[in-house]
Each structure stands twice: as C-alpha cells, then as structure tokens.
Symmetry: C2
Subunit: 205 residues, 2 copies
DNA sequence: AAAATACTTGACTGATCAGTCTACATAGAT
DNA sequence: ATCTATGTAGACTGATCAGTCAAGTATTTT
C-alpha cells in the first residue's frame, strides 16, 4: 500500500472540536476542512457526507475516551471511588477545554444527540450506542456498591440510570449556564442520589 | 391603532413547532414563514433576526405553559403530589405531540439551549431565565415536602436541583432514544431521588 | 377626504451551503 | 521504468441561507 495519510483522523478531530464547541448545524464542511488543512476533495474522498463524518467523529471521540473510562471504572477501584474519580476527571477535562475556548461545553453526546435526533438517523444511532456503553460503567459500579453493602438498591440498573440521568442533566445545564460550579458540587449530589449509607474514606484528593 | 394582525403569534408558534421538532440550526426563516403563511417582509417587520424570533418564541412557549405550571404546583396541592401530577402532565403532553410528529421531542429548552449556548447570547439568556423559573417550582415543592416531614433534606435547594437535573437528563435521553418509556417510570425515580420516607397515598390515578 | 399607522408583498442580494468532478501528485509494487 | 493504489487540489454547481427594500394595501384617526 502506498502513502498513508493521517487526513482522515485530522478531519475527524477537527469535526469533533467544531461540533462540540458550536453545534452540528452550525459546523460547515468548509470550516472542518479549513481546520483540518484539507480541501473539499479530500473530505469526500474519506467520507461520503457530513453526517457520516459526524458519526465517525463521535465514535472516534468515544474510542479515545474508552481507555480512560476503563481505568477509572476498573473493578480494582472501590465502586464509589470510581464515581468520585470520574466526576473529578470530567471536571478537570471541561475546565481545561474552557481555557482553550472560553466555554463550558458539557457532554458532546447529549448536545449533539438532542440536536440531531429527529433529523439524522446515522448520528442518532451512533450516539445512542455510545450512551449505552457509558451507562454500563455506572451499572457495574452500582452493582458492586450494592454487593459491598455501600448502597441499598433493589434495582441497581434503575439506580444507575437515575444517576446517569442526573449527571447528563447537570452537564446540559452546565453548558447552557456556562458554569462549571455545577460540576464541582456534583460528587455530593451523586452520593445522595445513590443513597450512600455513610461516606467512605477516599484515597484520592 | 389600525388593523391588528395575529401574524406575530403565528410566526412565533410556527417557529416554536419547527425548532422543537427539528432544531434551531435546521429551521430556516423561509420554513417558518411558509408554515405561518407569511412572507419574508412580514417576518422582518415583526422581528429583526431569526435569533430574536427564537428568543420570543421560547419566551412565548413558556408563558403559555406558565398557567398550567401554576396550577400543578399550586401550594394547595400536597407537595409530592405536585411532582406526580407534573410528570403525568409532561408524559401526556409528549405522547400527544408524538401522535402528530412521530417523535418524542423532550424539553425544547434543554435541546435548543444545548445547541445554541455558545453561539447565541440572546437565546441562551432567555433559556437560562426560563429554566430558573421552572426550577423554582421544584424548590418550593421540596421545601413544602421537607416542612411536612415527607422528605429529609438539609438543603432543599440542592435537593430540588438534583431532581431537576435528573428530570432534564431523562428528557434529553427520551428525545435521543425516541422513547417515552423513560418518562413512564420517572415518577418512581423522582421519589427515590427525593428520598421520600414512605410513599404517600395519592388521589390521582 | 386626507393623513397616518400598521401591516403585506415578493423580488432581490450576496454569502454560504453540501456535494461533484476532473486533473494531478506521490508512493510502493513489479 | 512504469503501473496502480492512495490520496490531493480546487474550481464548479445549484440550492438554500439570512436579511433588505421599495412599493403596495388596509384600517383608523383627524
């Protein structure tokens, strides 16, 4: 195989950045090409439509985060500490992005999902799948917490879903209000929603 | 004052319908005009931009709902029953809209807010204000529930915020998954998040 | 009757949109 | 050396975008 190009990745990264910062609708193919340093021809060489690129970019975004998620939600970590670490991680990540672009961007999957759900099946299904995978981390952690007697939950899946909804709602609000403070206090809210019996001593800062 | 026209309201309604069903970005001024039976000139006679119309339409949407909210969250209704009635109301409303347009549309304020927050200050601030007013209903109800000893909450505002986030997250997910079932089970989730001591006997079905 | 207010009309502009197409470049394989 | 696969370049298309504008109509006030 001749020359290998990193243009496909550059286009996906550029698309993800722009879509997350602005929105799917407000992000043009021209703008994506410009940021990626590509020309139109390259774009349509790799992707057959804007919508297909968006789906690929979102999937790629998830794949990048997956390793980190696996580490944070590792079964070797005490279940409640997983949430603690995760919300710290998200906070730090959003704060870092805010330095670059000046806004709290929240979760791209919720924002873009809400935006395109009625108009773009490809993107909608991609996001649906990703959200489900994300939820699974919560479910395992809640199950483990129940097993260790840290949390009372007759239905761990329902509990995990409740926390997941709460997390998503908070992220959406953080974006709308452009306020990271909502995230800062979320660890406490999470423990309350889980109905933690007594706060465990955590090792991390 | 000469002739009175209902075109302003027609434009606002048309805009709200289209933006809620699709998105802000995917809704063109031409499409709004067509649905309202207006011509371009009329549009720009009443509104100086698409963004200003969107803000007006969202504000108008809230004003229409306000009376219903006041009734549901009336202090004469037992506090926990307010939530019960509200989530029933939202469920029925979304189911009704689904009949017309085939999709679960969720909450327009969250969807549009997430979409435009970084791009349109006018709309962003409008939504921020509306969400805050909505939250206040939750806060009062939680306070009353605490006063009646139905709920334990050292910080009723935090509790209300937690439930509000959870509600919003669930609505966003309902739209993304195009699934109303999430709403059906929400009343139970809400009571759990509130940490209701014992389920009170409710009068409504 | 005339003037003023409150709209309505629809053609128009220039920018931008997603997507197409042909020609070309660069690399490894033979 | 040349052939082939993998890209790249960028001009182009036709549709659609938000927004403008000058001219018109209907209604009430004076």
């Amino acid at each position: 195989m001749p020359r290998v190009s990193d243009m496909k990745e550059r286009l996906m990264d550029a698309a993800m950045d722009l879509i997350w910062e602005n929105s799917y609708g407000a992000t043009s193919v021209d703008a994506i090409c410009e940021r990626a340093g590509a020309k139109k021809g390259s774009f349509y060489y790799f992707f057959k439509s804007k919508s297909e690129l968006a789906a690929a970019a979102l999937e790629g975004c998830w794949n990048k985060k997956k390793a980190e998620m696996d580490s944070i939600f590792s079964p070797t970590v005490p279940p409640l500490e997983r949430f603690d670490r995760y919300f710290d991680f998200v906070h730090d990540r959003l704060a870092e992005v805010q330095q670059k672009c000046g806004s709290i961007l929240g979760c791209p999957f919720i924002s873009v999902g809400s935006e395109v759900s009625t108009q773009d099946q490809i993107v909608r299904e991609t996001i649906d799948r990703i959200m489900d995978r994300k939820l699974n981390y919560f479910v395992s952690a809640v199950r483990d917490a129940v097993a260790e007697g840290l949390v009372d939950a007759p239905d761990p899946v329902a509990k995990a879903r409740a926390l997941f909804s709460c997390y998503q709602g908070m992220m959406a609000q953080a974006r709308i209000q452009n306020d990271i403070e909502l995230l800062r206090g979320f660890k406490g809210v999470a423990m309350e929603v889980l109905g933690v019996k007594r706060a465990p001593a955590l090792s991390s800062s």
